[in-house]
Subunit: 337 residues, 3 copies
């Protein structure tokens, strides 16, 4: 049985198939592939677009979504094997995953990292435990990657410019008051390299290099399918001739959970906000950001409110791409294994 | 494209049309006017009746409602134009409104004032920003007015006594442990004057006068359509011969956000609870209150539990009037403009 | 009009009828008995299984469920008759129950005790007030008993071993870091005695005796329908020859709301976790626990992960038994009285 935990587990052709199906949904294709089926949407973190688009997408496919707020409205969860549960965790994923599997046909999970220990959190332990113990397919609604966002982003790019193979794709770190999860940055790198772009990662300092799991995956994808990956700290060189600019802020992994010491490095990126001046260096680039987005901190209003900004289309695409993912997973021969 | 932000934007005839449609729903008329459509219910504040009645109303019209708890379950929102978003606000209404518009066909919003600065809050900035940036109709589920409650109230009154034109309608301030939002008081004034009643506003002190926006609107409505508006502080005179008594507590606007200094004025209304003795002065009046309602603080049990009390009927009417509003907005020619 | 507040109000035959209907649903029987109807699920406490299974069950019967988080998302509720509501309670159950009844066809409520005063909380005042004032049937989703869990438990037992009359049924207190609600313990006692088992209640000290309301009800049930009830403190004697072992932790009622003084008694049960060694004393017993369950505190992994463990089947049965309950209540002649 197949899950949708990371696009890294799916081939470019498979992913393109999902994108093509999403396009068909946008063109009016109707599917009732979740008729009589249910989907549990389990949120350990806030959501606006994800909750709304998964719920409506399920409904459009004939199914029924249940939203579970895992912080507050349900029980704190343990995922460690053999854990002696005498702390604050009331329920083990082994039970939660099996019981939810008995009620629903798909389980979608949002669980951001906790900023405590990257060595364990980089293994994405909660969603991996769900996928191990569930007897129905599991969908990642953002953990340390955000694969549904990747598909929505790639679909919007293809709608704007066709295939992105050999295009120059700039993933730029941008300022933010707080250190953030690397999920969307990891995802930007994965999907752009998977589809053969020349990826530039612009950071204030090499300490902002993404986790080796994603860096090496991207190098493997481009080695196999075309494109390239490079880490840059020179702003002008990075923007020069870019076809796509994707903005994201994240915390430097060497300071993970110990963010006070990261402040001086963070200060080196104080001028990294995307401005019309920087955009002028590009090849009339399309610019985007996963929402929510802090205006005039990450991207200046003049860029957000220009035709170059693709963020709204990208967010709107969440609905059809997730319909394609749910349909593909629910349609697996044999259902629960 | 038309929104439903305040009844002040709709004519008496238009509002009567909504009430008549609501009556038809109560008599068994079936409409599938939201078939295949979705409604986002965005709550920045708690709700029992509003959430339940909007969800069920959407369902009865063939549509699907998504409930979004905007405090906690989703992102804090900025609405200021040009804001540098380096504080605690993660998302701008400009994005949220456009993205939600791409997923759903109607957006309904509850957002109470924050009791900080009436000069800005009286402009109802969050829902106005949603209405400006959304590409689908926006419905007010209570901000500084509560227009859905107004319709439910007026429908219940018409069911009890027919047209209220020239009836004596008493809006009385009542005690409450805390200073409250003026929304329902503003709304009571707007709808009673719109339908031609002789409106008496009974307050412990003239400092409880409602905002000039609503006072002058009510004077305009009665000048055009009959009826009158007067502010009173004499309890016996206010109850004398009243046909309707509507109870609400609110904070005096001159002390907005600085409530400590309001206490002495508030004490002047300590005996304003609605009691059988006061009701005996009326013309066998119908009495009501928007729910929730504190018993034996605002209205004595003996009045609430008498046949004069209309609050349950009024609350029950939320369902059909909101169905009428959603149907009217969803049916606009051209949909999103 | 009949509610589903406690299995104590239903005969063994009636309960068996609900279980048989649940089995039919598991075998593929389709019912649209909630077509066009709505159910309000009112949660004063967290939930995973209850929320999901009630929502999906409603959907499968053709109806529509509304989830109301009564802590935070809605208003604090008063239930006392004649209360002067000048504290933190904003809404009286008299209004909430009647208004909800005007919107929906069934009201289901979860409201755990507050650990303040057992003399008042043992009367289950909030759900009793809802049942008194609602004009539609009320379902207990766990208060000081958990009747839906009882049905799911009994159905799973019958699926494993047929009728439990004259079987030896051990309800064992197990360790937990905190004193807990007696609801599931009360329910275990009620349902096992109702169906004629020989019930042993194993506790670290006689202070853990359950409330007399449940002890005496169980004695009455077994006097009428066979079986027996005994309170035991000898672990080996209690496990000896048991056919069923059901685990639950609870606080000793004499220390209710004053838990610090309970600690020495609690320590006497430090070794009460269910282990393979204890299970070896039984008659190859089936073991279960209402979820969530703390592994390696209440039950050792080696037992949970053995074929003897019935907890997942029991949790899965929540869906069909609740469908049976909702169908039975919604189908009452005359509907609201």
């Amino acid at each position: 049985m197949r899950h949708f935990l990371s696009t890294a587990d799916w081939t470019r052709n498979e992913l393109q198939g999902l994108l093509d199906r999403a396009s068909a949904f946008k063109s009016g294709t109707v599917s009732r592939s979740l008729e009589g089926k249910s989907v549990a949407l389990v949120f350990f973190n806030p959501s606006l677009r994800t909750r709304t688009s998964f719920d409506i997408g399920t409904q459009r496919l004939g199914g029924h979504a249940i939203v579970l707020d895992a912080k507050g409205a349900t029980w704190p969860m343990e995922f460690g094997e053999g854990a002696v549960m005498d702390g604050d965790k009331e329920e083990h994923v082994r039970e939660a995953a099996r019981v939810l599997s008995s009620y629903v046909d798909l389980i979608a999970i949002r669980c951001f990292p906790e900023f405590k220990d990257w060595q364990s959190e980089r293994e994405d332990p909660l969603i991996e435990a769900f996928a191990k113990h569930a007897t129905v397919p599991v969908i990642n609604m953002e953990t340390i990657v955000h694969p549904c966002q990747e598909l929505a982003h790639m679909l919007a790019l293809q709608e704007r410019m066709g295939p992105i193979a050999d295009k120059t794709y700039l993933l730029t770190w941008v300022p933010h008051p707080k250190p953030l999860n690397t999920a969307v940055a990891n995802s930007s790198l994965l999907i752009a390299s998977k589809f053969g772009a020349n990826v530039r990662i612009l950071v204030p300092d090499e300490a902002y290099r993404l986790d080796e799991r994603y860096m090496s995956a991207a190098e493997r994808f481009t080695a196999e399918g075309g494109g390239s990956v490079s880490l840059m700290t020179d702003v002008e060189a990075a923007y020069d001739g870019a076809d796509v600019v994707y903005a994201k802020s994240w915390g430097a992994l060497p300071f993970y959970g110990n963010w006070g010491d990261e402040a001086p490095l963070r200060a080196k990126g104080a001028d990294f906000m995307i401005t019309p001046e920087k955009m002028a260096l590009t090849n009339n680039a399309t610019v985007s950001h996963c929402l929510p987005m802090r205006r005039n901190v990450k991207i200046a209003d003049a860029v957000v409110d220009s035709p170059a900004f693709m963020g709204i289309e990208e967010a709107a695409n969440r609905l059809p791409v997730q319909m394609a993912v749910m349909e593909a997973l629910a349609g697996q021969a044999g259902g629960a294994e």
